[in-house]
Amino acid sequence: MAVTSGDMAQAFALRRRDAALKSEVTQLSQEVVTGQAADSGARLRGDFSRLAAVDASRARLEALEPALASAATTVSAMQTAFSGITAALTTATEAASQGVNMSADTAATAAASAFASVVAALQTQVAGQSVFAGTRPDGAALADAETILAALDDAVAGATTASEVQARVADWFASPDGFDAVAYKGGGARADVMVGAGEAVALSVTAADPALKQALEGLALGAMVARGAVPDSQAGTLLAAVSEKLIAASDAVVDLSARTGFAEARIDAARSRNASQLSALDIARTEMLAVDSYESATRLEAVQTQIETLYAVTSRLSKMSLVDFL
């Protein structure tokens, strides 16, 4: 044991202790204010994989929410359009089947107005975007009803029998120079809507869908009767064909509507799932990084008391010198 104890030894020890306590106070005050661990690396022992995954998922879900909201609006606009189309088809079918026996004119006019309303339904826009225009939502999905009917007039000019008119209208709708060039103004099928990581919902119905084309073809045929494409003797036969076509088209459109309904349900389910996942991720993140504010406040108090004690001891020790007593 040394007989004497150097002056600097005590001063050195007190200084180091003071510095350590001060850095502890800085860290604790930051933890009390933010409620999170000041040194996340030390807290997570250097392993950030979980926290990074949680943060990435949170950001993704937050970005998906508005995207899914707009997809939900689009798909419900589609369903509204489909129900309008189905109603128009039903009215037209009734009128056509009655017109076989009774006035061909009334039936044909009903078909023509149903055609116009279906075309209008297919022009539905949501927030300035055409719903049925595929990859070109900035323009209209279809040309207006009059343009289409005028083009059909040209196509059936000179036809005399009902079957010939039927065949020409069918050709026009099937050929790429007819419907696809003149009537349909939209683009290809839309890409799938992403609803989660790696999960997508197909929302690819356009106005060129076979079921919708079938409905338009049937109604256009009825409109041709109204525009006098065939002599009155053939009108009845044509209307019978129209009636058949419309029944088939109606089934197809209902089928389409059902499939779209499934997509709508999936989107809604994804939205609610994402919302609950988001809150679960928030809880997980808090658990990983949060510090108990009560505990850090208590420790801060304790360290502050320690510093004050250290100051008192330092001042006492500095007064204890033999020089003062000589």
Binding site: M8, A13, M194, L322, V323
Partner: protein, 424 residues
């Protein structure tokens, strides 16, 4: 006669007390001096009578000082390594901080998702390109920071080597002067101790006594730094360092290359330049290569000479994100296929491995630093215990005063006796 001998003995006692007082004042004056060894007087009784001052002893605890020096070197090294890793970790950014690499990668993915949902406006595509641009800029900035650290380490090494060489020459000079029997060898020993302490933080060394007050210095790896003559450390500083710099200079001692000089601040700077920074750069390159591979064909991330960047064509015409880098003309506004694919690809990109590697190393380095620092604190405190204690000096001053007064009294008494004799 015994009276005159009593006088001369008392006079020697007076001068011894005076010398003791001088030593005490020297100690008190240097109570706060670094490297000062407590002086004490060695007295011996003369056979012819009286007291003689045989010399001034300088207190030093060689073993403790040696241990403290090694601990100081270790503490400096661990501190430098921890600081370097903290700097890299701060540059990358932890997930709870804004603008971290992880947040920016997420930002690109969410910008792509938003753009795919709002294809009617070109602004979404522009925002996605901006997000990718920010990520590329951040990664390049981290690469620059790492190279700056390497250059900083290079400069620090060059400075240290110069400083060590100068100190070794000065210590050799002091050795010679002390051995030649200078008047105040103890003061020169104080200076020498300060110089050796300066080298000891850079290179852990052991001091060996060579007799006659001379010392030799050996590094803990056995390289002779000073044994008779001072060794000369050599180092060639590179002017600029980049990621693909050719092999950088190592350390030479007296012209011969040495692998290392033990675990001190100098070794830590070499480690930063040659291990820590390049490994971090390599991990960063893995992340960059992953991003480039994931988004190949879209031009979102491409490799450039010095890092990663968004293709210029995509920056000029953001619709290329939607239609493809090689597209001849703008395609349909509502086509989200490519954007969906890019968003899926980006959803699997992650910088978590990079951050975790650096952070784990940093936490371990900090633990090491706090351990070595605590050890250094303990050894330094113990060493300082042997320094000057003013209370003890005051106590000895009291005793010296007493001795001086007693000797003076003896002289007075003898003087009176002589007067009595002469008065007969």
């Amino acid at each position: 006669m015994s009276l005159t001998s009593a006088l001369s003995v008392a006079r020697s006692g007076l001068s011894a007390s005076a010398r003791a007082a001088e030593i005490t004042s020297q100690n008190v004056a240097n109570a706060l001096t670094e490297g000062y060894g407590k002086r004490s007087l060695t007295l011996s009784a003369l056979s012819t009578g009286g007291v003689a001052v045989t010399g001034t002893a300088r207190f030093e605890d060689r073993a403790l000082t040696g241990d403290r020096r090694v601990a100081e070197a270790g503490s400096a090294a661990a501190g430098l390594a921890a600081d370097a890793l903290q700097r890299i970790e701060d540059a990358i950014g932890t997930p709870d901080s804004e603008g971290s690499v992880g947040a920016l990668i997420s930002g690109v993915e969410t910008a792509l998702i938003t753009a795919a949902a709002n294809l009617q406006s070109e602004a979404g595509l522009g925002a996605a390109v901006d997000a990718a641009d920010r990520l590329a800029a951040r990664m390049n900035a981290i690469g620059d920071e790492i190279q700056t650290m390497r250059e900083g380490a290079e400069t620090a090494i060059a400075t240290s080597v110069d400083q060590i060489n100068t100190s070794l020459r000065q210590i050799a000079d002091l050795n010679t002067r002390i051995a030649a029997g200078a008047a105040d060898a103890t003061a020169l020993m104080d200076q020498r101790q300060v110089l050796v302490d300066g080298i000891a933080a850079e290179v852990p060394l052991r001091e060996v006594d060579r007799g006659n007050g001379q010392i030799a210095l050996y590094s803990t790896t056995g390289v002779a730094l000073l044994d008779g003559s001072a060794a000369v450390l050599g180092f060639t500083k590179a002017t600029a360092i980049s990621a693909d710099s050719a092999a950088l200079s190592g350390l030479t001692v007296n012209g011969r290359a040495v692998a290392g000089l033990g675990d001190g601040a100098l070794a830590a700077q070499f480690a930063i330049r040659d291990t820590i920074a390049p490994e971090a750069q390599a991990a960063l390159d893995v992340v960059a290569a992953d991003l480039i591979a994931r988004t190949s064909g879209s031009g979102l991330f491409q490799t450039t000479g010095s890092g990663v960047a968004v293709a210029a064509e995509v920056k000029a015409e953001p619709w290329r994100l939607r239609d493809g880098l090689a597209a001849v003309a703008e395609g349909d506004a509502g086509d989200a296929t490519r954007l969906n694919a890019l968003a899926s690809a980006m959803s699997e990109a992650s910088s978590a491995t990079l951050l975790s590697t650096i952070s784990t190393a940093r936490v371990a380095a900090e633990a090491e630093a706090s351990f070595t620092s605590a050890r250094y604190d303990a050894l330094r405190s113990a060493e300082l215990e042997g320094a000057v204690d003013t209370d003890a000096e005051m106590q000895s001053l009291l005793v010296i005063e007493q001795a001086y007064a007693a000797n003076a009294k003896v002289i007075q008494a003898v003087d009176q006796m002589m007067q009595t004799l002469l008065g007969i």
